[in-house]
């Protein structure tokens, strides 16, 4: 139950691994812009399709490989597959894309790419992830959306 700033703070600390809330964030009149950390908080808990670990725990996503431009409504995420020939890189990219599709306002143009030099099929994956129609088609595939949902689902639901 939210009764005080302190409780907000505790809630935030427990659930967001030490992102501290600033005084401004409690102020209803101040607008909080989207930042790297906020995007990172959205995608850090995505589960890896093969391991019982999150993308953050596997260092597939890191805060410094995320960029946000509030003025241009641009978000760019670079992810690092665990190995250069990782066969799940596309699924991971797709999971990040779907998660952001569901959790970021539609005004943002989201770009999800493989961190340059970290995967053998980098260009191919980037092309697939950038192609809206292919992403939409992928999400119509019941098997694929099941895998993506499993990656996105919080641990207690999976």
């Amino acid at each position: 139950m939210l009764k005080s700033q302190r409780e907000y703070q505790e809630f935030w600390v427990v659930n967001n691994k030490n992102r501290l809330i600033t005084q401004e964030e409690y102020d209803d009149t101040i607008v909080d812009e989207f930042d790297q950390r906020e995007i990172f908080d959205i995608i850090r808990s995505i589960n890896d399709p093969e391991h019982p670990l999150t993308l953050e725990e596997l260092h597939v996503v890191t805060e410094n490989l995320i960029s946000v431009d509030n003025a241009k409504n641009d978000v760019c995420i670079k992810f690092t597959p665990t190995i250069p020939h990782c066969s799940m890189a596309t699924v991971i990219g797709l999971s990040i894309r779907v998660k952001l599709l569901r959790c970021l306002p539609s005004r943002f143009k989201v770009k999800v790419e493989v961190n340059p030099g970290t995967h053998n099929a980098e260009c191919q994956i980037n092309k697939q992830l950038a192609d809206k129609e292919r992403v939409a088609a992928a999400l119509e595939n019941s098997n694929l959306i099941k895998v993506v949902n499993q990656c996105i689902a919080p641990r207690h639901l999976g």
Partner: protein, 941 residues
């Protein structure tokens, strides 16, 4: 005659019986009744059953056997003699060779026959041998296997001499029968009686066979099916199996290697079960067996304690280690073995090594196991730690070393007598090490030194004590910035006070007045926490409180800040305060005070109430009479004392109508908030306690006053009066409540009166204060007011919304749920039309609470609730409301059936699309979580 009586036993009836129809049970009952009445004998029965028992069809024979079994089951021991049992046993032994359907039915009869105490050994052996020879247990169904095990258990418990006679034949038969059992219910039963079996029989050359039959289940890997009605868990099975494997010494040489093999596994349950065997085995296995495997066991446990990160598993390893070391104590090489083990590990205790912590954990477990091992560890590992402490420069390392060292010393103290420890070199040196830390170290080390002193209290030399006490004296008046250091000082001071009260009294406590209020505040805090449980200091403590309370204004303020909480937690001191004439002394002092601070006044009022309420009627009367006639220089102070005393009085004590007029006058005319508020509370307390006759008159008087005053004063007076009446369930309370409800239409502040009535915070009306508190008064009030509000026409006004919010916030859960159907209209109106963020948040939080507990009242109007909550996710003027609404939606997605939510899913997701672009980050975060859950509502995961 007999034929008429036994018409139910005619051939036609018997031959038409069907097993499934259960009619045979009715016939069996009638037969049993007739045998008990001696109208039928067993021989006659068997003659009548001839058509079934000798029938060519096995189904008919089975029916005959079933009737016979049922009849036997219903008979008492004295109704059937040994000869009959012998004949029947021979018959049933034969039937066990019959068709399998007949044989399995006959098992019921065998069980009944064996349960008769007068069943002869010959018959038991005949029946058991027949089972061994003709019934293949593994081929039977689960209930029949269960019956066979019951027969074995019955033989064990009732016919032990038969087991002695049969010896290996019985053992072999049982082993053959139980081998390969897979049903969990049967296994739980088996594991229970097998323990008895193992203890009663000599397994001899069949020990290994028996062990193998049981060991194949180890470690138990079982997950109960979701719809399992037996409620059997893995733990039940694992515990039963462990008891079996450890109940006889003969299993030791087989069980320990098995446990060691499984302990090496990566599977947590395998490790846990293996540790259980090693630990429980200590009760029955031979020392020699443990000695034989000691090296492997200690190596494996050491490996696990050093490498396992799971804390509970590591604790388990340490407990097992302790049990095994304890077991090995009787071995003549024990001391040498522990000495060798400790010596081999002591180098791990060098500063900065990664294995330092795990090594101390391992050695501490060994030290805690026995008296000898604790002394060896203290001597070798403790000595090493002390030497390296002296040569270490890093403070963090030193602190770790000191902690480990003190833990070793503590284990020796717990395991050995004082006479042994007094001559121990390390015990003598430990206080010096703590002293060094206290004097030379930084803050962390100083804290560790204090903790060390509190743990080795009884072994500190006089010289060291002198220095330590000086340190404590200096520090208990100083602010400690570090919380750990502060709690260590509290603990050390408390321990020293327990062990050396006279010295602490002479060397630590301040006998002269502490001049600085800041220092006094800290000093009193230490005293009230550290000395409170030591009888010796009771006098000093109370004298200090009294002395400073009446010394000067500043000191008195400090004392009352502490006394307020101190007396509530330590009521035994109240009697001492009264004995020492604290109240007259205090009031003499207070009567000469000018311009007191409000906080001090509040504390004085509260402390006087706490002291007074525990006194007898006579004492209360005496204090009231003596103290209320004193003349005070300050009006505020007089009111604080007077009200403090009155609130604590028992029902029969206060009959002073002048004082009620005085209080009422304060309420009406005083311009001071403290006086007005305190008088209102006091008036409510009095009205709640005085008898019915007096009450009527005062209520009329107050009613007249209410007609004179307006605004907040009127609302507050009416609210407190209403509260005092409602809590005692006085009929006038409902008239006053009506008045308050009527005021709502004109006055928005009136709603706060309703909050005051249902809230408990700072409430003078309590059972402790001898107020009349009727059970369920809040429920009644809630129902009454909400019913009234339902009758109001123009309910869509802010004061009504606020009232609904305050009532729902503070009313008991069951009252709100019970009245929900009526209240829901008001709740919906509030959610739709109220612009008060506070009210909306209150209602949303309460609704979320009901949603989390899956209340059906919400489910019945789920769509209505959901849509209103959904609208508030974009409530502009307060992010708290938006967050509360989002959390409510999140809980809905988790707690109600998906089929009811799916039709609303897209609508919720669309609306939450706006929330994820909220201006506030905290709201966005909630919206993201919430939207993700709604997206996954019907997802196949």
């Amino acid at each position: 005659m007999e034929n008429n009586l036994l018409s139910y036993l005619n051939n036609e009836t018997l031959e038409n019986l069907e097993k499934e129809e259960k009619k045979y049970l009715q016939i069996s009952k009638e037969v049993t009744r007739d045998i008990k009445c001696n109208t039928l004998s067993i021989v006659n029965l068997i003659e009548h059953l001839r058509c079934l028992l000798l029938n060519n069809l096995y189904t008919r024979r089975e029916m005959g056997v079933l009737i016979l079994c049922e009849v036997l089951k219903g008979l008492e021991t004295n109704m059937i003699n040994t000869e009959y049992i012998d004949v029947l046993s021979s018959y049933f032994a034969e039937k066990l060779k019959d068709h399998h359907q007949v044989a399995t039915s006959a098992l019921k009869g065998v069980l009944t026959l064996i349960s008769f105490p007068n069943c002869s050994s010959k018959s038991v052996i005949q029946l058991i041998t027949s089972i061994f020879n003709h019934i293949m247990c593994q081929q039977q169904q689960q209930p029949d296997r269960y019956k066979i095990y019951q027969i074995y258990e019955m033989v064990l418990t009732q016919h032990g001499h038969v087991v002695d006679t049969m010896q290996n034949e019985f053992v072999y038969g049982v082993i053959s029968s139980i081998d390969g059992e897979r049903d969990p219910k049967n296994l739980v039963y088996l594991f229970k009686w097998i323990q008895l079996f193992l203890k009663k029989v000599k397994l001899a050359h069949l020990t290994e066979e028996m062990f193998d039959v049981l060991a194949c289940y180890f470690p138990v890997d079982f997950k109960a099916p979701p719809k399992d009605t037996n409620k059997i868990t893995r733990e039940d099975l694992a515990q039963g199996l462990c008891e079996c494997l450890t109940c006889i010494p003969d299993f030791g040489p087989h069980a320990i290697p098995l446990a060691l093999e499984k302990l090496d596994s990566a599977l947590k349950i395998a490790k846990e079960d293996a540790l259980e065997i090693l630990r429980k085995g200590c009760q029955n296995y031979m020392v020699e067996t443990y000695k034989q495997f000691s090296l492997e066991i200690l190596n494996q446990l050491q490996k696990d304690i050093f490498t396992v990160d799971d804390e509970s598993l590591r604790e388990n390893c340490k407990e097992t280690l302790k049990a095994i070391i304890n077991k090995l104590e009787s071995d003549h090489d024990f001391k040498q073995s522990i000495s060798d083990l400790t010596s081999s590990l002591k180098s791990n205790l060098a500063p900065g090594l990664k294995v330092f912590h795990r090594t101390t954990e391992f050695l501490l477990a060994i030290a805690e196991a026995t008296a000898v091992s604790s002394l060896v560890v203290v001597q070798i590992a403790g000595g090493f730690l002390r030497d390296s402490y002296e040569s270490t420069t890093d403070s963090a390392d030193k602190s770790q070393q000191l902690r480990a060292y003190i833990n070793f010393i503590k284990s020796a103290m717990n395991n050995n007598s004082k006479s042994i420890l007094h001559d121990n070199e390390e015990i003598q040196k430990a206080p010096l090490l703590c002293l060094d830390a206290l004097l030379e170290g930084d803050e962390i080390l100083k804290t560790e030194g204090l903790k060390g002193f509190s743990e080795i209290g009884g072994y500190i030399s006089e010289d060291v004590r002198g220095i330590l006490f000086k340190h404590i004296k200096e520090n208990i008046v100083v602010t400690q910035s570090d919380a750990t250091r502060k709690s260590a000082l509290f603990l050390c001071f408390a321990k020293m006070s327990e062990q050396y009260p006279v010295e602490v009294d002479n060397s630590v406590l301040y006998k002269n007045k502490i001049q600085s209020c800041e220092e006094l505040n800290i000093y009193i805090e230490y005293l009230s926490h550290s000395l409170v449980n030591v009888q010796y200091f009771e006098n000093y403590l109370i004298n200090t409180f009294i002395g400073y309370a009446v010394c000067d204004v500043d000191c008195s303020k400090v004392i009352f800040d502490h006394l307020r909480y101190f007396l509530e937690q330590n009521t035994r001191f109240i009697g001492v305060l009264i004995e020492k004439q604290f109240i007259p002394t205090l009031t003499n002092f207070l009567s000469n005070i000018d311009n007191p601070e409000v906080n001090w006044l509040l504390n004085i009022k509260h402390v006087l109430t706490v002291i007074l309420r525990d006194q007898s009627t006579e004492v209360q009367k005496q204090i009231y009479e003596n103290e209320t006639i004193k003349v005070y220089r300050n009006e505020l102070m007089f009111n604080a004392v007077l009200i403090g005393i009155i609130v604590g009085l028992k029902k029969s004590v206060f009959i002073d109508s002048d004082k009620i007029d005085f209080l009422l006058n304060n309420v009406m005319n005083s311009s001071d908030y403290f006086i007005k508020d305190a008088s209102l509370q006091c008036l409510a307390s009095v009205l709640n306690k005085i008898n019915q006759d007096l009450l009527e008159g005062y209520l009329n008087k107050i009613q007249q006053c209410c007609n004179v005053i307006t605004g907040d004063d009127k609302i507050l007076l009416m609210s407190w009066v209403t509260k005092s009446l409602v809590t005692r369930n006085h009929s006038a309370g409902w008239n006053w409540t009506n008045e308050l409800v009527n005021l709502l239409n004109d006055n928005i502040d009136c709603s706060s009166g309703f909050r005051l009535i249902v809230r408990d915070e700072q409430n003078p009306l309590s059972l402790q204060n001898d107020s009349i508190i009727m059970p369920l008064y809040k429920q009644k009030f809630f129902v009454f007011v909400t019913n009234k509000l339902c009758e109001v026409n123009n309910i869509d006004k802010a004061p009504y919304f606020k009232t609904v919010g305050y009532l729902i916030e503070n009313a008991p859960r069951q009252a709100v749920l019970g009245q929900f159907k009526k209240v829901i209209r008001l709740v919906f109106l509030c959610l739709e039309k109220s612009m008060e963020a506070e009210v909306l948040e209150i209602i949303l939080l309460r609704l979320t609470e009901f949603i989390s507990s899956k209340e059906s009242v919400i489910e019945n109007c789920l769509e209505d609730v959901l849509l209103r909550i959904l609208d508030l996710t974009t409530f502009e003027s307060s992010m708290r409301v938006r967050i509360a609404a989002l959390r409510g939606l999140k809980e809905i997605s988790r707690n109600y059936p998906i089929y009811k939510l799916v039709p609303l899913q897209q609508r919720v997701i669309r609306k939450l699309g706006v929330c994820i672009d909220d201006t506030k980050r905290i709201v966005r975060r909630e919206a993201v979580d919430c939207r993700s859950l709604w997206y996954l509502l019907d997802a196949d995961l």
